[in-house]
């Protein structure tokens, strides 16, 4: 199987879906002439023209709302929000409108659209450009939220999201764009929304993760294997709907769990996962579920402070060791 980057997987898939269905169109700031702030849409304007690849002014609330309205009439817009930090100016359209229209109006109209945006922060982008808000969207009934951790899933979930008839929030990560992985060439596979994956089987502890943190979890699992610690890694892939059965099954087997996410600790993604595990696997737990997440501070710019505020392999290893304490 060819090995390509996460960026390439997204770029290919967007192109393929544009070619497959003329109701699919891309919208966003700098996706055309500029070819994408992070080059995810590179070359697509040249290939498909300005009707299908639409450069927008800086008016997120307006063009996200336009995408929703267009979806109500049968288009399938794929909107890029340059980074998730900027979606705050458009969040009323997403949460008070897109997520409710199908249900609130008695199922008479659908809102088939995707909003893709990178979340999280690396590289000293500072307090306003390094945040994670996927937990906010995962909280909202009516939305679907996915967050692929590798090129294969990026392609499969993007296909699923574009072909899905509900609004899907597609969470990416700047730090994943250059990572590589195997992606089948001709096979038109999709990765189902709402289904997690056990990326690595293990017996001592379950690590629940998604997006960039899954990549870290896989490295840590490999490293600890040499010490004889067997780590099972669950990649959530979807945050809403949340695949609780897969998480629970794994923890019932390993009896120990660590949850890792890049967002802030309190009220973040890890809270829901930890709460779910203690609820449904209480009698199987030999230690409290440990959470590894970002430090609760507006991310400082200074290099070392910034790096020290985000979870990494060290913090994950520390958490794994502490849940394993006393295990013989």
């Amino acid at each position: 199987m060819p090995i390509i980057t996460y960026r390439q997987a997204l770029n290919d898939t967007l192109g393929e879906e544009l070619a497959r269905d003329e109701n699919v169109l891309l919208m966003g700031e700098e996706i055309g002439v500029f070819q994408g702030s992070y080059r995810i849409t590179e070359g697509l304007l040249a290939e498909f023209g300005p009707k299908r690849v639409v450069d927008t002014p800086i008016a997120e609330e307006g063009f996200v709302g336009i995408a929703i309205g267009a979806a109500m009439l049968g288009l399938r817009p794929v909107v890029e929000i340059m980074t998730i930090n900027f979606i705050l100016v458009a969040i009323d359209q997403v949460v008070n409108h897109a997520s409710k229209i199908h249900y609130m109006f008695g199922g008479q109209v659908r809102v088939p659209m995707v909003i893709r945006t990178p979340s999280g922060g690396t590289g000293q982008l500072g307090a306003t450009h390094s945040q994670s808000f996927e937990n906010w969207f995962a909280y909202c009934p009516g939305l679907k939220v996915v967050a692929p951790s590798n090129p294969y899933d990026a392609k499969g979930l993007m296909r699923a999201a574009i072909r899905d008839d509900d609004p899907v929030i597609f969470i990416e990560s700047l730090a994943l764009y250059d990572t590589k992985g195997e992606v089948p060439e001709d096979e038109d596979y999709v990765v189902p929304i709402g289904v997690a994956e056990v990326k690595r089987a293990g017996t001592d502890v379950t690590v629940v993760s998604y997006s960039r943190m899954t990549a870290i979890a896989m490295q840590v699992a490999q490293k600890l294997e040499q010490e004889g610690i067997s780590v099972e890694v669950v990649d959530l892939r979807s945050l809403r709907p949340l695949d609780r059965p897969t998480i629970i099954e794994s923890v019932r087997k390993t009896n120990r769990a660590v949850v890792i996410a890049e967002d802030w600790y309190s009220y973040g993604i890890t809270a829901e996962i930890a709460a779910t595990i203690q609820e449904e696997a209480f009698d199987h737990l030999d230690a409290p579920v440990q959470r590894v997440a970002g430090l609760e501070v507006p991310l400082p710019y200074a290099k070392d402070l910034s790096a020290a505020s985000k979870p990494n392999a060290n913090s994950l290893i520390y958490a794994i060791r502490s849940v394993l304490k006393g295990k013989k």
Binding site: Q93, G106, G107, V195, P241
Partner: protein, 355 residues
């Protein structure tokens, strides 16, 4: 030198009498529907927030008289009349206000969230300004698909102060979207007058920063509204040229059924109702021009009375939504791990203390 004819009358002569009578019937229906709605609210048959169109009948009927079946309509939460004038039967509308399964949104939406896909009524929305980008998006889709028609983005005067409205104006003009920004200017956003809310109180001028044409129209003159909409919708459809319509009317009552309207001088309100009643004025016009006599006018009142009562009966008779269907339509594309009928029933039983 030829004798100059009375322009109003000669204009009327060009009108079709039956059409004029139908317009009157529609306005009467809206008026009576809202009066009974407010009764039903007081009787607690209707809950939540409830906003009436009383005083805005000419604006609504005038708009609908000019639209074609191809056109789409997005409104705010003050939308009962729009749905009725667009041709949705009163029964399902009242049933929605009652929260019944027979309602236009299966009782899920309520007064602020009516919808009728078939009639292209694309919903009443209750976040101020939220419907405006959606309407532009619908117009964008028409253009994208090369389909005929225009989209109406209805809103109130107070809504013209929120960012979504301005972003929408810019994008609509930039992308040549066939959309009419239809501002129902009833003088107030709740207790806030137009002057208190807008540094440019001539709302039709608010397109100036975007090269969008605007017009002020007497929103109590049904024929004037119809003609203005016809003219501007043609231009919008043909040239993708959006326009602003500032429809001035008078709000007969408080902001919503529960608003005591303490902030408006009672004399001002009484006088406004006297002078700006579009329904009564239209009746007088029909009568004085010999288009409808007292007998017909009385019959129209009776007809409407009966229809609205039937709507209430329909609503009363319509069943309550079923608990097991609580999660229906949460997602259009089912995927694993979303809640279903059993989850609904279990949750509801717990909630009702049945387990």
């Amino acid at each position: 030198m030829a004798k100059v004819a009375d322009p109003a009358r000669s204009a009327l002569e060009r009108e079709n009498a039956d059409e004029l009578k139908h317009y009157y019937y529609q306005m009467l229906l809206l008026r009576r529907f809202e009066e009974r709605t407010s009764e039903m609210y007081v009787k607690a048959r209707i809950g939540g927030y409830c906003h009436l169109n009383i005083g805005e009948e000419a604006t609504i009927v005038g708009l609908m008289a000019a639209l074609t079946p191809d056109d789409y309509i997005y409104t705010n939460y003050r939308e009962h009349g729009y749905v009725l004038a667009r041709g949705v039967p009163p029964g399902p509308v009242m049933a929605e206000l009652f929260g019944k399964e027979g309602g236009v949104a299966r009782g899920r939406g309520g007064s602020m969230h009516l919808f009728d896909a078939e009639k292209h009524f694309m919903g009443g929305y209750a976040i101020v300004g939220g419907q405006v980008p959606l309407a532009v998006g619908a117009a964008y889709a028409l253009r994208y698909q090369g389909k005929p028609g225009v989209v109406v983005a209805q809103m109130g005067d107070g809504t013209t102060n929120i960012g979504a409205f301005y972003e929408s104006l810019n994008l609509a003009k930039l992308w040549k979207c066939p959309v009419l920004f239809f501002i129902v200017n009833n003088g107030y956003g709740m207790g806030t007058s137009v002057e208190m809310g807008s540094s440019e109180p001539d709302l039709w001028k608010k397109g100036a920063s975007f090269r969008i044409h605007g017009e002020q129209i007497d929103g109590t003159d049904m024929l004037a509204v119809r003609d203005a909409v016809r003219r501007l919708r043609t231009k919008a459809e043909a040239e993708g040229e959006p326009a602003i319509l500032d429809l001035v009317s008078f709000r007969f009552r408080g902001h919503s059924v529960i608003d005591a309207d303490r902030y408006r001088d009672p004399n001002f309100v009484r006088q406004g109702r006297e002078e700006h009643d579009p329904v009564r004025n239209f009746a007088t016009m029909l009568h004085d021009n010999g288009i409808a006599d007292d007998v017909w006018l009385k019959a129209a009142v009776d007809k409407v009375e009966k229809e609205v009562q039937e709507a209430i009966d329909f609503a009363n008779a319509s069943p309550e939504p079923k608990f097991e269907e609580l999660y229906d339509n949460m997602y259009a594309s089912p995927v694993p791990n979303i809640p279903g009928t059993e989850d609904a029933m279990r949750a509801v039983r717990i909630n009702r203390g049945e387990v």
